[in-house]
């Protein structure tokens, strides 16, 4: 009877699926609840940006004046200087009790100045704000252009003050880890555990071809991936509705952004099944599949670090699941959807081809 293996897979695994389903629902609905608090604290921080001002000279070689609002109960101030907004290579430019400093502009490049207040000797300094020598630039916005972050947005600059930006980082930034690794684990174990628990002999002594066996398992995984996606959609939509944020992002965009990840999950499924067929062990298969997912992620992230590394992105499956395109640009990339779907199908075909040739171990 067609679909029996699919049905049995869902039936025997329903408890685990239910727990995972609840977890997804809680995460997706819960994470957006944090947004209002996050927005308020970020707004406070951004206001701090105006607390530090920088007056540039009119002609070459003039003096720069940096001044800031004094902080109550501050004993002294510290100014850090760096050519990067991240301040990772900052040097101390000033330390003292003044609330303004003047110095000669004897450089051409863009520099950043972070001002910190020292409250007392024992506690860490408090950041008052950051200013830049580049006119009209907001250092806080620039922080978001850091390649490590832009990996999540496909290079778009989004504001974390909007729910769209928040979702991109805080939800989608780890959704692939939760869903991707869960699907990877399941897709390996639905097949490899049949090998490990010695069920393969009895399964394949029934009038079932190996192709049908694999396709039914893939069918079960497709249903699980779809359910996972639908639960996340419901959770996100519900969560956003509860904080009255559905006017900022449409339900359709939520639906499409997660749905565009379905073929992404199917590719992971196909890779998981392939490793299960190749190695016939849950642990080995899972290790290899997890390594695949992380490698793809790093390829995509590193590809964004420099133009010359861009090629890395094109061979990463993460490039073809552009959720931010749907969320930020309102554009569903059907081409990418097709590419990932075709890739999943090709991998399943390869998987069947290998499985039909392999000896079933005792």
């Amino acid at each position: 009877m067609l679909g029996r293996i699919t049905y049995m897979e869902l039936r025997t695994g329903w408890k685990g699926l239910l727990i995972f389903g609840i977890l997804i629902l809680v995460i997706s609905a819960g994470i957006v609840q944090i947004f209002p608090f996050y927005r308020d604290s970020l707004t406070e921080q951004l206001e701090g940006a105006n607390k530090v001002n920088l007056a540039l000279p009119n002609e070459q070689g003039g003096n720069i004046t940096l001044f800031w609002e004094p902080l109550e109960n501050a004993t002294s101030y510290m100014v850090m200087e760096d050519t990067r907004v991240s301040m990772v290579t900052a040097k101390i430019a000033y330390a003292g009790a003044e609330t303004s400093i003047t110095f000669e502009k004897d450089f051409e490049e863009k520099r950043y100045y972070a001002v910190m207040a020292v409250i007392n000797e024992t506690s860490d300094p408090v950041l008052i704000g950051i200013a830049t020598t580049e006119k009209g630039e907001d250092p806080f916005k620039e922080l978001l252009k850091n390649p490590a972050y832009s990996g999540f947005t496909g290079g778009r600059s989004v504001s974390m003050l909007e729910v769209k930006g928040f979702m991109t980082f805080e939800f989608f930034g780890f959704w692939w880890v939760v869903a991707g690794l869960f699907i990877a684990y399941l897709s390996v174990s639905v097949i490899a555990s049949d090998f490990e628990n010695k069920r393969m002999d009895v399964m394949l002594s029934a009038p079932i071809s190996r192709r049908r066996y694999l396709l039914e398992k893939f069918g079960a995984m497709s249903i699980i991936a779809l359910l996972t996606t639908l639960i996340a959609i419901a959770g996100l939509a519900g969560g956003l509705a509860s904080i009255n944020a559905l006017n900022e992002i449409s339900a359709e965009a939520i639906f499409l952004s997660l749905m565009s990840g379905l073929p992404f999950l199917m590719v992971i499924t196909a890779v998981g099944m392939l490793t299960a067929v190749l190695f016939q062990k849950v642990r080995t298969g899972m290790g290899v599949t997890f390594a695949f997912v992380f490698t793809e992620f790093f390829l995509y992230t590193f590809g964004g670090f420099s133009k010359s590394l861009e090629w890395m992105k094109t061979i990463s499956i993460f490039k073809y699941w552009d959720y931010s395109s749907v969320i930020i640009d309102d554009l569903f990339k059907s081409g990418d959807f097709v590419i990932l779907t075709v890739l999943a199908i090709v991998l399943v075909v390869i998987c069947i081809w290998i499985f039909e040739k392999k000896d079933i171990p005792t």
Binding site: M1, R4, I5, M8, T12, D194, N197, K198, R199, M200, D201, V202, M203, L204, S205, A206, P207, I208, S209, K357, D359, I360, T362
Partner: protein, 303 residues
């Protein structure tokens, strides 16, 4: 009368890299018989069986089952086969009944009647959870699933480990299956275990077939081994009776190979006070020695 053959294996070779699984094996199983497939562990029994079911690919040779190619027509063949693997795995945490029903549905069979009656006869509780089962009960599940869909050919790989009473019931079931025209191919590493149920046995060793013999002929050829221990000293000459081919003395214990006249021998033995007495079949190793010696003699005689 030409026997209709259900399984025909010709020149089967299966290599695992450099290791020989089975080499140039020729074997056929007739319709309606119970064929025993004997050999020590690692002799190639499981390899042969699993090649028949296309679970592993063959290196060379041909296997036809019901006149169909074992690999090309594997799915069609499996519709007619009930199989108990040597290592039978269960889905954990489901009821035995659910698992069996699942396997029934994979075999495109809807009737649970036979499943229920088999479980009853083998004293298997269908409402138990699979992970709670003992080794013997797991084997019962395996036996039930191999027989429940009423298939024409039943292949069983070493169904041993049942309680003696259940084992007897199991053999009764196999004989009934035979009566209904089913063919049974059953492997074992213990001759005594299957000789009461088999019509013929094939003996395999180190991947090669040693002999295929009718069970009655085998019994006549090998005889029985009678071990007897007396309380008083007995002269060995007294035991040189009709039908006894060999006698070994081991302290007070006598080991007799008896081919015929078993009642006469026992009668003679019982003239003395007996401390202990056992009647056994030949062990496989003894059988091999016998058949090898025979083959060697024939070779020498031929030269």
């Amino acid at each position: 009368m030409v026997q209709e053959k259900v399984i025909v294996i010709e020149n089967l070779t299966k290599m695992y890299g450099n290791h020989v699984g089975v080499k140039d094996l020729d074997l056929s199983v007739n319709k309606g018989e119970i064929m025993g497939f004997l050999g020590p562990n690692g002799a190639g029994k499981t390899t042969t069986i699993r090649t028949c079911l296309a679970l592993i690919a063959k290196t060379a040779g041909e296997i036809t089952i019901f006149g169909l190619d074992s690999h090309k027509d594997a799915v069609a063949i499996r519709k007619k086969i009930g199989y108990l693997p040597g290592d039978f795995g269960l889905i954990p945490s489901v009821k035995v009944k659910s698992y069996l029903k699942y396997l029934l549905s994979l075999r495109e069979c809807n009737s649970t009647k036979k499943m229920v009656s088999l479980a009853e006869r083998l004293e298997l509780d269908l409402d138990r959870k699979t992970h709670e089962l003992s080794k013997g009960n797991k084997l019962k599940v395996g036996i039930v699933q191999a027989l429940m869909a009423d298939q024409e050919l039943i292949i069983m790989d070493e169904p041993s480990g049942l309680d003696p009473l259940v084992q007897q019931e199991f053999y009764r079931i196999l004989r009934e299956e035979k009566k209904h025209g089913k063919t049974v191919f059953i492997s074992s590493h213990n001759l005594a275990e299957v000789e009461s149920v088999c019509d013929r046995v094939a003996i395999i060793r180190k991947g090669q077939l040693v002999v295929v013999e009718d069970i009655r002929v085998l019994r006549e050829k090998t005889g029985k081994v009678l071990e007897v221990e007396f309380s008083d000293p007995v002269n060995i000459a007294e035991l040189k009776l009709e039908g006894v081919s060999e006698i070994h003395q081991d302290n007070g214990r006598f080991i007799l190979t008896v081919h015929e006249n078993l009642d006469g021998v026992i009668g003679a033995v019982s003239n003395h006070r007996i401390l202990n007495m056992t009647l056994k079949s030949y062990s496989l190793e003894q059988l091999f020695l016998k058949y090898y010696a025979e083959a060697e003699n024939q070779k020498r005689g031929g030269k």
